[in-house]
């Protein structure tokens, strides 16, 4: 077994990317993700990579667009307000089928908001990470170890389907330290014959482009992409089920919140209420099938989030009216306590 080391979530994000062969990073400082940039700036120059601090998040994400369009594994990271700026290039990457990794270590919003942990960018990540018809893969780790695993998966799947991928973390996960085992990724970067890296006089020019002025042509491009999305929805849904075998109340939570929820679920069981937890690992594609599996078993679902209620809409879509779907959340950077969640579970269990 490899050695366990203590690492901050943000550092694990950076180290995982390096292990996955991503040695180009374009960033801009913002709390609470700054350690990702700091780690990269320390490590990358020593291994022949590039850490570049951009003049803005806009520029950073467009540098990412350029680097990724030229066929290499590259990434950028930010926190909520910075992600809003990055959405411009993300839409272009989606529209020109360029795979890349974007990390959001979420903080409270809207506006400048706060710097404490939040999950209020769920809609942004899963619905509208920029203008136009598109989706990005969204992975939501819950432990520092899982951050590493999902960074590997995100790079691999982004390249397989030629879509951008996002790691949606939060300030708590980014700042906390936990033991991790650094294992090498199982997969290698994919071949990229489409990349714009110079044709070496061996082929015709590659064009990375999202502009199609003929409406039918653009429609066809989008439809082709949505066919890929259908395959992704079929093959890439991921969720963890915790104490769900005999659960009567299914608490749905992702990321750092799921850890608080699991503690509350365990306590609820000690107090005689059969609760369980479904933890979505992919937020897009949403693990609808896992949720739907339990509609005939549980009497209700409860979505717990660090937001005013965003993922709950996906739970409702999956449940499709079969049983009630409740919500409990804290926002603005307030981390819900296990006791609060427990009280909500007990109220529903009565």
């Amino acid at each position: 077994m490899s050695k366990r080391v203590l690492m901050k979530g943000n550092e694990a994000l950076a180290e995982a990317a390096i292990q996955a062969g991503c040695i180009h990073f374009f960033g801009y400082p913002i709390t609470p993700q700054t350690e990702v940039a700091a780690y990269m700036s320390k490590r990358l120059p020593k291994i022949g990579g590039v850490y570049l601090q951009a003049e803005s998040e806009l520029a950073a994400s467009n540098m990412l667009l350029g680097a990724a369009a030229s066929g290499i594994r590259a990434m950028t990271s930010s926190s909520s307000p910075g992600i809003s700026l990055k959405t411009e290039a993300i839409s272009y990457m989606a529209g020109s089928d360029v795979p890349a990794l974007i990390v959001n270590v979420q903080r409270g919003g809207p506006g400048l908001g706060g710097i404490q942990p939040s999950q209020a960018d769920y809609f942004q990540a899963t619905r509208a990470l920029g203008h136009g018809d598109f989706q990005v893969l969204v992975f939501a780790p819950a432990t520092v170890q899982e951050i590493m695993d999902l960074v590997y998966l995100a790079f691999d799947r982004a390249e397989e389907y030629r879509v951008p991928a996002m790691i949606l973390a939060d300030g708590m996960l980014g700042q906390m330290m936990e033991p991790v085992v650094i294992e090498k990724p199982q997969t290698s970067p994919h071949e990229k014959p489409w990349a714009a890296s110079g044709h070496q006089n061996k082929r015709r020019h590659n064009i990375i482009n999202s502009l199609y002025l003929q409406a039918e042509e653009l429609e066809n491009r989008v439809i082709e992409r949505y066919k890929r999305y259908e395959i992704i929805k079929e093959k890439e849904q991921r969720a963890e089920e915790y104490l769900m075998e005999d659960a009567e109340i299914a608490v749905v939570a992702y990321g750092a919140t799921s850890r608080i929820v699991k503690a509350a679920v365990k306590e609820a069981r000690e107090q005689g209420v059969k609760a369980g937890c479904i933890r979505p690992i992919t937020l897009w594609p949403y693990p609808t099938d896992t949720i739907a599996k339990y509609v005939n078993q549980v009497k209700c679902f409860l979505s717990v989030e660090m937001s005013m209620g965003q993922m709950v809409e996906d739970v409702r879509l999956a449940v499709n009216g079969a049983v009630p779907v409740e919500f409990y959340g804290r926002t603005g950077g307030v981390i819900p306590e296990p006791g609060e969640v427990l009280a909500k579970i007990m109220e529903l269990g009565r």
Binding site: L6, I115, M172, M176, M177, I260
Partner: protein
């Protein structure tokens, strides 16, 4: 045994460092551990606190809301967290900086003049390690070897000469 530890004081007292040593010691003993700092402007001179969990089981919430161990290194932090300590919890107070006594009868309180002891022993800035030594004595939260190893691992490579002083400070706390 699951240790849910809250450490709080001013920025610059080595609050986060102390937490890292504790988490590192837990790791060395092959326990599950987590360390969660307060972050942001607090790091720059205001209050600082961190949550550390050590357990045989995977850690649920890394945010310690109801600590069973509380180390207080200034008065505002003491006042903020003392009521959250679980019954039968352990409270260690730097009595050089906090002149208040614990009014609760359901916790075990220890008063350590850590800042004064550090100065007397020419270990300025290592009151945190004296507090840690006391914690080690009262709880044996980790093995001796793990604690020493964690100090060695947590002190930056450029400051290896400080290991000795850190261990000396722990020794002072341990013998109180």
């Amino acid at each position: 045994m699951e240790y849910k530890i809250k450490i709080a004081g001013f920025g610059g007292q080595g609050i986060l460092f102390m937490g890292k040593v504790i988490a590192g010691a837990g790791l060395a003993d092959e326990k599950e551990v987590s360390w969660l700092p307060s972050y942001g402007p607090e790091m720059r001179g205001g209050t600082a606190n961190c949550s550390v969990c050590i357990s045989d089981e995977p850690i649920g919430s890394p945010l310690v809301v109801k600590p069973n161990v509380f180390l207080a290194m200034n008065r505002p932090s003491f006042e903020r967290f003392i009521d959250s300590v679980e019954p039968d919890g352990i409270v260690i107070i730097d009595s050089s900086l906090i002149d208040e006594k614990v009014s609760r009868k359901d916790v075990k309180a220890f008063y350590v003049p850590a800042t004064e002891l550090a100065e007397e022993n020419e270990l300025n800035g290592l009151a945190n390690m004296i507090m840690l030594g006391k914690l080690f004595r009262e709880t044996s939260f980790c093995s001796n070897q793990a604690l020493k190893g964690a100090v060695e691992a947590c002190v930056p490579k450029s400051k290896q000469h400080l290991i000795e002083y850190n261990l000396k400070a722990i020794g002072i706390g341990e013998n109180l």
